[in-house]
Structure formats: structure tokens, C-alpha cells
Amino acid sequence: MHDPEKRVSADVAGLAAAIERMAADLAIGEEPAGFVLALDGDAKPAEPRD
């Protein structure tokens, strides 16, 4: 598959299919900002600097 247009179409279709499959049961309340909350929520309290 060396035709650039075909390659792009195939790559995009592959990614879209993967996203559709994984997102099938995403909760309505799931927001992108949940990522930062996930990081901050797991972190141990920082050791304060002097």
C-alpha cells in the first residue's frame, strides 16, 4: 500500500475503529480533565521544601 491517500485512509480508519470499540461503554460523565484528576488523586503528598 504505497499510495499515500490509501495509506492515510487506512490508518485513520484503523484508529477510528479502535476508538469506537473502546469508547462503547464510556460513561457520559467522563471528561478529558479526568486525566489530570487521576494523576493528582494517586499522587502521594509532596514533601514540602524548606
Binding site: 504505497h2 473502546m22 479526568g34 486525566f35 487521576a38
Partner: protein, 466 residues
């Protein structure tokens, strides 16, 4: 001086055993002698570096010190905006990126006394894991010329390995600090997302870009992280969490720390030498008291798909003008990767961002309930030959890029701290490396483990045969 670390040089400087001018001149001489073959630098600022060094020398003579890096020669990936120096971002355009403010991390290093030697070569637009660059020359692996230095912070890895600079900054969107560190046999740290400001740094994917140090030792990486980390009003994504004294925490014993070695994915298809070296490193950590055990981790391939959707969408938006107006200036594989981003729908992009939240939460809950850190390989094989990496069709090259960076990209999607530490050599003397991955904002534990490993081994004392 080529086997010195930042810590040993800073101590020698404080004790007046070497002056800032001598240290900078030694680096400049080595760059002048060897970089014509290595291609680690795009811009060497000899005049500026020496002027700064002379000023720092005067300050020392007057009993003043700016901080822990007083007189230490460093260099920065050529996507960091440093006033007075061009920022090509590895493109054909000499000044591709400008910023209203100096790169915050560079400013903090300078404020701590560091001397800027210049700007380092990189893969075009930070897109590619091999370190090739058609405009500024392929960065050669100092351990084995003709082989990849790793990318995209190729010059950042090679400059440290070659002894051109005591430390460097790189950026990491899919492995671009850790891959060159692994290929070049040096330490590289991708901090937690938000730990280090990206202000004044060319963005590739604002959701997954990270900035971090490359050094000879983990202790030096801790030192540089301590200087550059922390909230920055110029970067809305930078965290307000306090910055620990990483250097002080380095010496805490690692006994009792739980270290997981994944049973799935991370060791699939890697070379036997890499496999053996990383497992041997985990055993050494076990010998030092860490509780090493196998663990199953959530399938990283889903993270990779999500990461591709996010990073390609964002990079296409950010670099649309170059891709649309002057596509002939871009290397074919870079152009091909950018092009995909123009065709991803807003729906899929936003779903990917939402999925990222859920998968990060699930990964953190599952994995860190069982362990404090993971030990995995960084690269599936030692640095490949440049000609092999670049050979074949664009499709072949892009697919090869994906395979080579498959062990680092999941941690950009997850935003977790990940540290490359050298752990040996292949039979033909190409560096091998492990990756230590920790909890969010727990760089201290990844650094402790890496430091303990380096204290028990001697790989970091070896240098390339230049």
C-alpha cells in the same frame, strides 16, 4: 573532564579545582574536535558560553555562587526558546519557533548558574525515534557510528554520551527523552505530566509533551529535575504541587519497595540480550531489598491507539502551516505522520481524550495497588543501524518507528514518570537500558531505584570510544 558528572564538576568548581572558563572551554574544544562527526549540535554558542563563564568566574572570585549549577556547561534541545539563539526544531527553517518568553526550564537552569553551550540536534519537529535528520545531519551514536542515537532528542542523548555537555534537556511526547538515553547509554527522565513547565518549548502535542533532563547519572538527573520542576504561570498545565528535594531522597534505602516486572507485552519480541539485561537489573534491585515480582498490566496497545489519535490530531493542528504550505521541506515520514492528523475527526479525538481519563484511572488503580514501580525495557533492541532504520518505503519507516517506540509511548498517555537507566552492553558494545516507571508525581521513587541500581553497578562509568 569527559567522565565527570554534574555533581563532581560542581564540587570541583566550588573547591576552585577547575574554573567555569576551563570547564566550558574543555567542552567547546571537545565539540570542535568531534561534533563534525557526531552532529549533536545545531548551534554552538562558543562566544556566549565563554562570556557567561567569565562572568561566573568573577562571581566565584568575589565569593558569590548563583546555585548548584554555578559554571556547569549544559545544552538544550533545539525546540527550547533561548533568547539570542535560533530555534529550528530540527526543520529546514532556521527560526521555526519563537516564544514571547524564554523556555522556563532553561531560565531556571541559568538562574542556578548553568552555562548554555548551544542548541542540540533533534528529529524534525520532534517526530521520530531514530535520530535521523535530513537538514542538520543524522545524529551518530557515540558508541557505534552508523547507528541510531535515538530520537527525537537525539543530540541531547549523544551530547551527554560524547562528553560535550554535562547535562541536557530533551522533550518526550512518545519516548523522545528515554529512547535517545537508552540508545546512547545515558540517563533520561520523563517526569510526570505537569511536573516540569513546557513554556517556551515548541509544542508537538500539548496533551502528551513532557520536558526533562538527560545526564550521565541518576543523581545528576535528580539535581536538574529539582531545579526545573515546579509551578509556572506561563504553562497552564504545570502542577502546583510542591517539589521535593529529590537529591536528599535519593539515598533512602529501597528495601521494601515493591517492583513489578510485567508478564505481558513489555518483553514480547525484544532481543535476548535486552531481555536478559533488564531482568538482571531487576534482580539487582531485588538483591538490594526491593520486593520484585511479576505483574500483569492493562493492555498497553489500547493506550498506544489512544495516544496516536491524540498526538496526531494535535501535531497536525500545531504544524498545519508548515505541512500545508511547504510540505516539500518535510522528511517523507514526518509528512506522512502529520498528514494522518488532518483526517482524524473531532469526535474520535475527544473520545480518545475521554478514554485516556478512564484508562489512566484504571491503570493507576490496578497497577499501583500491587507495586510501587515497574521495571520494563525502553527499546526492543540496541540502537539499530541508521541505514536499516531509514530503509524501505514511507510505510515501512513509519511502521518501524512505531515498533521501536512501543515500550515508551504508553507512559506518555498515562503521564507517569519514567526513567531510562543504562544496564549493560550488547555483544557489539551497543548500550542496553531499563525503564523505571513510578506513580504520578513520585519521581523520587523512580530516582531512588535508579540511583540504587547505579550505586551497585558500574555501567555509567564507561564512556564511548571517541
Amino acid at each position: 573532564m569527559t567522565d565527570w558528572t554534574i555533581q563532581t564538576l560542581a564540587r570541583a568548581m566550588a573547591a576552585r579545582k577547575i574554573s567555569p572558563v576551563e570547564a566550558v572551554q574543555t567542552c567547546l574544544d571537545r565539540i570542535a574536535r568531534l561534533d563534525g562527526r557526531v552532529h549533536a549540535f545545531i548551534t554552538v554558542d562558543a562566544e556566549g558560553a565563554l562570556a557567561t563563564a567569565r562572568a561566573l568566574e568573577d562571581e566565584l572570585a568575589a565569593g558569590q555562587s548563583r546555585g548548584p549549577l554555578h559554571g556547569v556547561p549544559l545544552a538544550y534541545k533545539d525546540l527550547c526558546h533561548v533568547p539570542g539563539l535560533p530555534t529550528s526544531c530540527g526543520t529546514k527553517t532556521r527560526e521555526y519557533f519563537t516564544s514571547p518568553t524564554e523556555c522556563t526550564a532553561v531560565a531556571r537552569l541559568r538562574a542556578a548558574g548553568a552555562v548554555t553551550l548551544g542548541k542540540l540536534n533533534m528529529t524534525e519537529l520532534a517526530m521520530g525515534p531514530f535520530g535521523d535528520n535530513a537538514h542538520h545531519g543524522d545524529v551518530q551514536n557515540p558508541w557505534k557510528f552508523g547507528h541510531c542515537s535515538g530520537g527525537s532528542s537525539s543530540g541531547s542523548g549523544a551530547a551527554v554520551a560524547a562528553g560535550f555537555a554535562l547535562g541536557t534537556l530533551g522533550s518526550d511526547t512518545g519516548g523522545s527523552i528515554r529512547l535517545p538515553a537508552a540508545c546512547c547509554g545515558v540517563v533520561g527522565l520523563k517526569p510526570t505530566y505537569g511536573r516540569v513547565s513546557r513554556a517556551g518549548v515548541m509544542p508537538l502535542s500539548w496533551s502528551m509533551d513532557h520536558l526533562g533532563p538527560l545526564t550521565r547519572t541518576v543523581a545528576d538527573a535528580a539535581l536538574l529535575l529539582e531545579v526545573v520542576a515546579g509551578y509556572d504561570p506561563h504553562d497552564a498545565t504545570s502542577s502546583r504541587r510542591g517539589v521535593p528535594y529529590y537529591q536528599r531522597l535519593l539515598e533512602s534505602p529501597i528495601g521494601g519497595l515493591r517492583v513489578g516486572v510485567p508478564e505481558n507485552f513489555y518483553f514480547d519480541g525484544i532481543t535476548p540480550e535486552m531481555d536478559a539485561a533488564v531482568r538482571a537489573a531487576a534482580e539487582i534491585l531485588g538483591g538490594l531489598g526491593a520486593l520484585v515480582s511479576p505483574i500483569r498490566v492493562p493492555d498497553p496497545r489500547t493506550l498506544t491507539d489512544i495516544g496516536n489519535v491524540i498526538s496526531r490530531s494535535e501535531s497536525a493542528v500545531l504544524h498545519a502551516r508548515l505541512a500545508r504550505d511547504r510540505p516539500h521541506e518535510l522528511q517523507p515520514a514526518v509528512r506522512a505522520r502529520l498528514e494522518i492528523g488532518f483526517h482524524i475527526s473531532a469526535h474520535d479525538y475527544l473520545q480518545a481524550l475521554r478514554l485516556r481519563s478512564r484508562l489512566a484511572r484504571e491503570f493507576i488503580a490496578e497497577v499501583f495497588a500491587e507495586v510501587d514501580a515497574l521495571v520494563v525495557p525502553v527499546i526492543p533492541e540496541p540502537a539499530p543501524a541508521l541505514e536499516t532504520a531509514k530503509s524501505g518505503s514511507v510505510d515501512d519507516v513509519v511502521a518501524r518507528m512505531g515498533r521501536f517506540s512501543r515500550l515508551t509511548r504508553p507512559f506518555n498517555v498515562l503521564g507517569l514518570p519514567a526513567l531510562t537507566v543504562p544496564c549493560g552492553f550488547s555483544s557489539d558494545r551497543r548500550p542496553l537500558a531499563l525503564q523505571i516507571v513510578g506513580r504520578a508525581f513520585d519521581e523520587a521513587t523512580t530516582l531512588r531505584l535508579g540511583h540504587a541500581y547505579q550505586q551497585a553497578t558500574a555501567w555509567h562509568h564507561e564512556g564511548p570510544p571517541l
